[in-house]
Amino acid sequence: MMDAVEILFTASFWVAAIRIASPLIFATLGELICERAGVLNLGIEGIMTAGAFAGWFTVYMGGDLWTGVLVAALVGMAFGLLHSFLTVPLGLSQHVVGIGVTLLATSLTYYVYRLALPEVTSPPKIEPFQPWPVPGLSKLPVVGEALFTQTPLTYLAFVLVIVVAWGLYRTPLGLAVRAVGENPGAVEAQGISVTAVRMGAVMAGSALMAIGGAFLTMSAFNSFFFNMINGRGWVCIALVVFGSWRPGKALLGAILFAAFDAYQIRLQQLSGGVVPYQVFLMLPYALSILALIVVARRATYPKALMVPYQKGER
């Protein structure tokens, strides 16, 4: 039993936790931006799948790693455009459109994969992002190794938390995004286009989701295989609520979930097959639900979340 506690004090555990958290951070920030603008984006799972494939495939075809990230973001934006066109100017149900986008993006990705690589049996590999210890900082005791021996994409995720938080709370654009999720009528009355702000937010958010997906194929692993997103998108939807629609809290949520996940993998190894391993797989989800109940019971939703806005309608 002592071993189970000792895990928490090993640097490798925290390195893994931060790595597992990285794609969640990207995608949670993306979902958070969409929801702050009043649009629930259930296309997240599919957009992450598409991003994972697009980034990896770009590199596989000879592109450079950062080009892969860029292509993933553009693919995400394209799906964001589709989602927001249906939900914002047309005002269709955000649930139905979101699930539709997830199904479409996922199956389209698998289809393109099969078209491009009809012959392969085992997924081809690429040379992914390598850990890049930050000079100086990585030598710090405890946190140094966990935080500063990661890949560049993980650093980007952390930087983006600050950028998104600053953007939402300190810039005029962020003000418009938050206001459009609270009361689109107020935004319209101040002479800003509700449609433009909402569509822009969904596209930007979808780009981040796709980068989150690309992290898996280009940093955590080195190839693309089916079902690799494996519900991470849905976890991010919960993390947004857990974080009360605030980037900083969402970051904590992502790390917490990732820590549970990293922990259960290590527990599986310890238990030696006495307990069915599915119990451990379940652990992070069960604990997340528990945390959600404790933390997010009094969360205040953006008031206009999931409410379509039609100009000139009363």
């Binding site: 418009a176 609270e182 009355a189 101040q190």
Partner: protein
Amino acid sequence: MDAQSSPPPALRLSDITKRFGSLTANDAISFELGQGEVIALLGENGAGKTTLMNILFGHYVADEGSVEVFGKPLPPGDPKAALAAGVGMVHQHFTLADNMSVIDNIALGTQPLLRLKLDRSAARAKIDRLAQDFGLAVKADALVADLSVGERQRVEILKALYRDARVLILDEPTAVLTPTETEALFKTLKLLVAKGLSVIFISHKLNEVMMASDRVLVLRAGKLSGERRTAETNRHELAALMVGHEVTPPVVAKVERGALLYELKGVSTARRAHGTALKDIELALHGGEITGVAGVSGNGQAALAGLLAGMEAPVSGTVWIKDAAVTAWSPLAALNAGIARVPEDRHRQGAIADMSVSENVIAERYRDRRFSRAGLVDWTAARAFAQSIIDDYEVKCPSPEARIRLLSGGNMQKLILGRALDPNPSVILANQPSRGLDVGAVAYVHSRLLEARSRGAAVLLISEDLEELLALSDRIVVISAGRLSKPSARGELSISQIGAMMAGHEAA
């Protein structure tokens, strides 16, 4: 100030026409607003006032006609252009984001969107200066959700002033205010005009129009039906212009006070997330008497109405019906006790929009022998009942089979009233019975309530319209923060005394 004295008028509307389907909401309306002038736009609900102002501000595009601001044409359908031209609008339903601060609400859209930093300190300085200049005190860092309605309206006005509005449009600005807040608003308007702004305010309240405007434009059924200098007209003339014929106040006959029919003794209700709970209420309703409840919306009226309707049960205290204390209270118990209900929101609580008139009229009583046999609805009886209400109450309605959604507000209200008054109920809850109705329908509703009173029913009339309360009620109680004042006979209290009590002050 005279309109001719300053060359380009602040606003010129020429032949504005707007149609929604077959309805012509605005029919060739033209007028000018002089600089430094206050115009009141008077008209009944549905006369087209709000539509006209929404065209002006760019929320709608007019089918015909044009708008000029200070001599320059205003491109249609673009609120941004209206703001840039110096037109500010205070909407009836505030356009504020509740979970954001006052400063953020005001600064929204005033700085280039792609700037890297929102300049809150500059915004704060300007807000403070404007607040000082115009007597519009607000807490700049407070969340809008924490502000009172009067404060929110000040934020709306500041939003317009912050953008250097030269013309201010206020849509029904007093609808949600207490009399005291209304006075403060009119003081602010005077100050605005003194600083050179021009103002249009929309209202259907004659006393306010007389009090605060230089000129009155009257709209009726989408057309400009009259234009008067306020100093040269009176309330009667304006009312006639507004309705199209002379309006006579309801005649209140003398009726003997009857037996005690319903009583609340020390009743409190449960706290809810929305709405105010009642605290230790005493209220006695007698036959042949209309008891009016005055108060600013949200002070416990919903709980009081819920209590009568059986939607709300007391957590302490007792409900008495005639001389028996009620033990189990529910909507069904209230119905069985003979309490008729005219709910506040006829669309949401009074009717099921997509069901037919016959289905709606038996909604409360489909269990009765009269409308059901062996568990089957007797549709012949239901249709006959619907038809009898349609005939008796002069409801304009194609057939008992029509969906109730298709009826106008006034006709829907007549049906609900007919349904409620059918078996001569002993107690009648009339919650905002005339809200949103035109003057003709209001007179009809009033006469029916007075008839019920003559028959010996006890009526509880909850209304935000003080004139209605004073015209109909035998006794008036004031509700404030969930507490009920002692009843006072009609004429005992002046409007300003009632206003003070509505604002939470004890009777002077």
